[in-house]
Symmetry: C2
C-alpha cells in the first residue's frame, strides 16, 4: 500500500475530515486528523505501523515510548513485531502501587525514541520528553504519522529534538484534492487555516 | 518457552515478588504480581502475547479490547500479529475533541473479548464490561495472564462472563517453590494470604 493509498483509506474511514473544528489549543481548523479508530481496521493498522518502521530504520535508539493512547497501540505493535524494548508513559499516575509515571525497564543514558500519532504545536510532546529526561533517558528523535504543520516541527527543533513525520497536512490536502475527494473550496479553507 | 519458564522469567525480572504488600483493595498479600515491565523485554513480551493467543484460539469473538495500560500493549501486539480488530477503553475521558471513553469502530451486538493482565477481585474488569455493554457490545469472555485467586473468577461468573487465565498464583507459587526460587516460609505466607 502506498502513502497515497493510506491517506485515501484514512479519509474513507473518517479519520481525516473537512469542516469547522476547534483544536485542543483553541485554534480553529478546517481539517480534522485523528487516527484513533485505525486500531479497529487490522490491515490499515498494520500499514500505519509499517510506515513507522520505515522511518525508524534510519534512526538510532535503544527503546521506544508510545504516547497514550493511539500511539501506544502503534508502539506496542512495532515493539512486538521488531523485538524493540518499550517504555510506557502513563497519562495519569496511579494512586496505589508503585506510582510510576514511566513504566518499563531501562538504564540511565539510554536513548528513547518517542512515538506520537499526530503532532500539532508539539506542546504535549515536549511535556513527555521532559518526563523521560527527568528519568535520565536521552531523547533525540520523535516519530509521528501526521504533522499538522502548526509549528510542532520547529518547537521540537528548538528543544533539540528531530521530528520525523510520515505525512503532513499539506500532503494530505494535495492527495485528496488530486483524487477528487475534496472540493477546491475545502482545499482553500484547509490551507488558509494551517 | 514453557509456562514454567515464563513464570521463572517473570520472577527473575522482579515482576513476581514475595514480601509484604498491600493490594488496591486494601487487602494484605505476600505475593506481588505485576507484568508492566514486560514491555521492555521483547522475547518475554512476545512469549506473554503468544500465551494469550493460545487461549484465545478456543474463544469466539469479533474484536478485542485491552485494559490500559499493560493489557493494552498486549492487546495491540496481538491485534497486529493476528489481524484482529481492536477497541480501546480509556482510563479517563478527554476534555476536548470527541470525548469518547471507548475508541474504535464497531457495530452494536458484536462480541468483544476483554484482555486484562492481572485479575484480583474482578471489580475493575466489571466496570470495563459495563462500559462496553453500555455501548451495546456483547461481552462473554475475559482473558488474563494471572488470576490472583481472589474471587475474580467467581465474580466474573456471577455477572455472566467466563474468565480464561493463563496462570494463577497457586501455580506460580508451586513452580517457584519446586525450582527452589522461594523458601518454604515464602510459600506458606503467600498461600495463607490467598
Amino acid at each position: 500500500m502506498s502513502k497515497k493509498q493510506l491517506i485515501l483509506d484514512l479519509f474513507a474511514k473518517d479519520m481525516i475530515k473537512f469542516g469547522e473544528f476547534t483544536l485542543k489549543s483553541g485554534k480553529k481548523s478546517y481539517i480534522y486528523a485523528d487516527i484513533r479508530t485505525s486500531i479497529s481496521y487490522p490491515s490499515l493498522f498494520k500499514q500505519i505501523c509499517n510506515e513507522y518502521s520505515k522511518i525508524m530504520a534510519n534512526i538510532q535508539y535503544d527503546m521506544i515510548c508510545g504516547v497514550p493512547y493511539s500511539a501506544l497501540a502503534i508502539a506496542s505493535a512495532i515493539a512486538y513485531d521488531k523485538s524493540i524494548p518499550m517504555l510506557l508513559k502513563r497519562k495519569e499516575v496511579k494512586e496505589y502501587g508503585t506510582k510510576k509515571i514511566l513504566e518499563g525497564y531501562y538504564n540511565p543514558g539510554q536513548n528513547c525514541l518517542l512515538i506520537e500519532d499526530v503532532i500539532s504545536t508539539g506542546a504535549s510532546l515536549i511535556e513527555t520528553t521532559i518526563v523521560l529526561e527527568e528519568h535520565r533517558l536521552k531523547v533525540t528523535d520523535v516519530c509521528t504519522l501526521i504533522d499538522r504543520n502548526q509549528g510542532g516541527r520547529e518547537a521540537m527543533q528548538q528543544h533539540g529534538y528531530k521530528l520525523h513525520s510520515i505525512m503532513n497536512l499539506t500532503e494530505i490536502i494535495d492527495v485528496l484534492y488530486a483524487e477528487n475527494k475534496i472540493s477546491a473550496n475545502d482545499k482553500k479553507n484547509a490551507l488558509a487555516l494551517l
